[in-house]
């Protein structure tokens, strides 16, 4: 029985929110939810009342009445005001979360690529900036391949320390994370349920995705746009860690990249994995 009651309490089913603007989005959902529930009970109440009160009675006739303009105007204007208010209020949050001019100054910038069926992430590495790749220079898109999905130009010195992860990434807590998302083949959708983030990634363009997590932990990334048979399994994990843990992880990664470079192995340490996992 409690399960049944829980189904009726729709708001209890949200996964835990960990992003700064997630609270606003959930609150907006709740507002619309309560308005909807109110309208639902109002209209269904009236409907059921009418159906009982005016049920068939052979001794009664219907009421020949064709309507009233004042009533019509009233119930045109009232919903207009209500819905316009929802629209205007929504737009503030929409602008905050999606407008490119409102993307905050990044504390951490990561590139993300969707592929059938998985995710690549590119970090700028020790120097904190990306070298020449398909994001920083459009012409480098020609370098994109199964082994080099980001189109990294290895002749650019700034590229040497950029490193890639596959199907997992880490971000620091309480920091503005800005991700630039794209795809190497078909459409995918970058969906972080706990972060209340969703953005389709489209091959050929880069999308701005940003968020700021206030809680550490291990969470999931899902693909939300049908991308083929393996769509359902296009899952990745990410960890929100404290700033010090994040720095330690970065140092470790940078060390690995450096060691690999000195051993003159190709810089992208996931290249072999990428070949295996691409079709």
């Amino acid at each position: 029985m409690s399960e049944v009651l829980r189904v009726l309490d729709m708001l209890a089913w949200f996964p835990e929110n960990i992003s700064t603007f997630g609270g606003e989005l959930d609150a907006l959902f709740n507002i619309i939810y309560y308005i909807s529930v109110a309208i639902f009970f109002l209209t269904f109440g009236i409907l059921i009342y009418f159906l009982i009160k005016y049920r068939f009675n052979p001794n009664r006739k219907g009421y020949n009445y064709h309507g009233n303009n004042i009533v019509e105007i009233t119930w045109t204007i009232l919903p207009t005001i209500l819905f316009a208010a929802i629209g205007v209020y929504s737009d503030d949050i929409w602008e905050e979360t999606k407008y490119s001019s409102r993307v905050p100054k990044p504390d951490v910038e990561i590139l993300v690529l969707g592929k059938t069926y998985g995710w690549y992430f590119l970090y700028p590495g020790a120097d904190g900036k990306f070298g020449r790749n398909a994001f920083t220079d459009r012409s480098a898109r020609a370098l994109m391949s199964a082994t080099n999905p980001f189109g990294i130009d290895s002749s650019d010195a700034a590229s040497a320390d950029d490193f890639t992860t596959e199907n997992q990434f880490r971000v620091p807590v309480n920091a503005n994370i800005v991700m630039r998302g794209s795809s190497i083949d078909v459409l995918h959708s970058f969906f972080l349920p706990n972060m209340r983030v969703k953005q389709d990634v489209v091959p050929g363009t880069w999308m701005n995705i940003w968020y700021n997590a206030f809680k550490t932990g291990k969470f999931e990334l899902a693909c939300a746009e049908l991308c083929g048979g393996g769509h359902y399994a296009m899952r990745a994990e990410y960890q929100v860690v404290s700033a010090s843990d994040y720095d330690a992880w970065l140092d470790q990664k940078n060390g690995e990249v450096k060691a690999a470079r000195e051993a003159s192995v190709p810089p992208a340490d996931t290249a072999a994995a990428a070949v295996a996992s691409l079709r």
Binding site: W13, S36, L187, D200, C223
Partner: protein, 620 residues
């Protein structure tokens, strides 16, 4: 229903009237390649019912897999073709077949069930009869508009025989997924067959629509002004205008995607894709979404507006009341149609379209809730102080109104672009679309079938079976689709083969199983309808000329009208909803009956000075 007031002698005389004025046609011209709009309507009824069960079967496969991932499909699992299952005889659906299932379910239900029902069947049946004319303006074009559908359906289903099976990119078929192919040029794949098939269906729609517009504008009975038309005709007329404006755009998009697939052009494929296909470059994937939704959002209204009209007629008839705010209803339909063309981008909030456009599309989308609520309030106003008889048609119309309220309210969530960020592509959307298209459209279609079946076949549908069908459908429908809202709120993505891959979806197995059981019951409940339609055809009670004591012109025709429809000259004297008029004994006043009335403060009052016409009044 009481039929005492009807001229029953008349009804029997013309009961089986294939009008003698039309010389005998060979059987295939009568039943197959008929130009009679009523026969064409019945053909649409049969084909749509057939596809309803195909689409429903696909849905049940989907439901089974999502509730019991990795378990063999019961009963027929062992005999499923090898290409559908993980290994021969295992009965477990593959992920690839799952994508085909969801694609075909959506495509068939929208293009082969709801649109043909709503527009093909009711458009054909209702328009000429309700405007009091003998047939469509262009009967031969009308015949062709139906006869494009069976080949289209066969082409769609024939993808079973090609390599890779049915189209599998979703009913929206977003490229690059729908266009990146490894196969050589000139290969017929599931996707190309899908495109050819829907191109034909689109042509069928356009042919039907130009016919409807022409017929409504040119062939109305003497005395019938535009604002004397029943709301069903208004809705179908405006729907036809939407089709003529929107469908060509979709056809153009189909042509481009077809060329991308068949000839390896790249309208929708950008350069530097990392794929084993070598045919791409220079295209724009999001262009498809704009073109597709420019038609397919109005298509949502193509699928609901006719049923709004039908529900209005049914509500008025069984409440014995005029429609509250008839003109407001017409303007609301027109408003929805107009706004429907400037809201397509709300399907694309997360597509990567410029977020500034997101703002404008959000505002236009939210505005469209206004005409929708006007309609709901006017329906409630129509019930107010009525004398409501709960026939099966009425029950279904009431279900239409109430489910449309829920579907409309859940639409406000996704109309708000920031809320849509989270619920986009989740089961919340699936719940919404089914509340509108099943709870709305399909209940409207049921209402229409129960309401007009007597005029279609000259027999009454069995009310008792009708009620059983209604209650089963109504309850299992809500049990199936309401919990989907909860899945959506929990973040459950749509179109996924196995939710157990994700930790955050692991707690939802119970709801998924519950939905599947309800869906199976819902699917099988529809057999009652088919049984009733077939049983009543043979053993149903003979229908009188005007079984519901309604006002609109189709009830002036013989009980089972033949080719040519009417056995009398039709002149229209008043609007379609003059029920319970003061100064009359009968609680209805058909449009074709002479008589004078005056309007006093929104009430109609009969004035008795129609002395020479009084004899013809008493005839009916």
């Amino acid at each position: 229903m009481s039929t005492a007031v009807l001229g029953s002698a008349e009804a029997t005389t013309h009961g089986h009237g294939h009008d003698d004025a039309h010389h005998d046609l060979p059987w295939f011209r009568k039943y197959l390649f008929s130009t009679d709009h009523k026969v064409i309507a019945k053909q649409f009824l049969v084909s749509s019912l057939f596809f309803l069960f195909i689409g429903g079967a696909f849905a049940l496969f989907i439901r089974w897999q999502i509730a019991y991932p990795g378990k063999p499909v019961p009963v027929i699992g062992s005999i499923m073709p090898d290409t559908w299952v993980t290994e021969a005889g295992s009965g477990v659906i593959t992920p690839e077949f799952y994508a085909q299932l969801l694609t075909m379910h959506g495509t068939i239900m929208i293009f082969f069930v709801i649109i043909p029902f709503a527009v093909g069947m009711f458009g054909n049946f209702c328009i000429p009869l309700m405007i009091g004319t003998d047939d469509m303006a262009m009967p031969r074009l009308n015949m062709w508009s139906f006869w494009l559908v069976p080949p289209a359906g066969m082409i769609m289903m024939s993808a079973f025989f090609v390599e890779g099976g049915y189209a599998a990119a979703g009913w929206t078929s977003y490229p690059p997924l729908s266009a990146v192919i490894q196969s050589p040029t000139f290969t017929l794949s599931g996707q190309t067959l899908w495109l050819i098939s829907l191109f034909l269906v689109g042509f069928s729609s356009i042919m039907g629509a130009v016919n409807y517009v022409t017929t409504v504008l040119n062939k109305r009975a003497k005395g019938m002004k535009l604002f004397d038309m029943p709301l069903t005709v208004w809705a179908l007329f405006i729907t036809a205008v939407i089709i003529t404006l929107g469908t060509p755009v979709l056809a153009a998009a189909f042509a481009m995607l077809f060329m991308d697939n068949f000839l390896h052009t790249s309208f929708f494929l950008p350069d530097h894709l990392v794929t084993s296909s070598k045919y791409f470059g220079g295209g724009q994937p999001v262009l498809w979404q704009h073109l597709f939704w420019f038609y397919s959002h109005p298509a949502v209204y193509i699928m609901i507006l006719p049923l709004m009209g039908i529900a209005s007629d049914v509500l008025a008839t069984f409440s014995r009341k005029p429609i509250y705010g008839y003109k407001a209803m017409v303007f609301a339909i027109a408003g929805i149609a107009f706004l429907g063309f400037i809201v397509w981008g709300h399907h694309m909030f997360q597509s990567g379209m410029n977020p500034l456009l997101g703002t404008t599309f959000m505002l236009s989308t939210i505005v469209i809730a206004v005409p929708s609520s006007i309609k709901v309030f006017n329906w409630l106003g129509t019930l107010w102080r009525g004398n409501i008889k709960f026939s099966t048609a009425m029950l279904n119309a009431l279900a239409f109104v109430s489910m449309f309220i829920i579907g409309g309210l859940s639409g406000v969530f996704m109309a708000s672009a920031p809320v849509d960020i989270y619920i986009h592509d989740t089961y919340f959307i699936v719940a919404h679309i089914h509340y509108v298209l099943f709870g709305g459209s399909l209940f409207g279609i049921f209402a229409g079938i129960y309401y007009w079946y007597p005029k279609m076949f000259g027999k009454m549908l069995n009310e008792s079976w009708g009620r059983k069908h209604f209650y089963w459908t109504f309850i299992t429908f809500n049990l199936t689709f309401f919990p989907m809202h909860v899945l959506g709120v929990a973040g459950h993505m749509r179109r996924i083969y196995d939710p157990n891959v994700y930790d955050f979806l692991k707690g939802l197995g119970g709801i998924n199983e519950f939905i599947t059981i309800a869906a199976i019951a819902l699917g099988f409940s529809q057999l009652i309808l088919v049984f009733n339609v077939l049983w009543s055809l043979k053993w149903g009670k003979k229908a009188p000329r005007n079984p519901w004591r309604a006002n609109t012109l189709e009830w002036a025709a013989p009980a089972h009208p033949g080719h040519g429809n009417f056995d009398r000259d039709i002149t229209v004297y008043r609007g379609p909803y003059e029920f319970s008029v003061e100064g009359r004994d009968l609680d209805y006043w058909p449009q074709w009956e002479p008589g004078k009335s005056i309007s006093v403060h929104h009430h109609t009052v009969a004035v008795s000075d129609a002395s020479e016409e009084s004899s013809s009044v008493s005839n009916h």
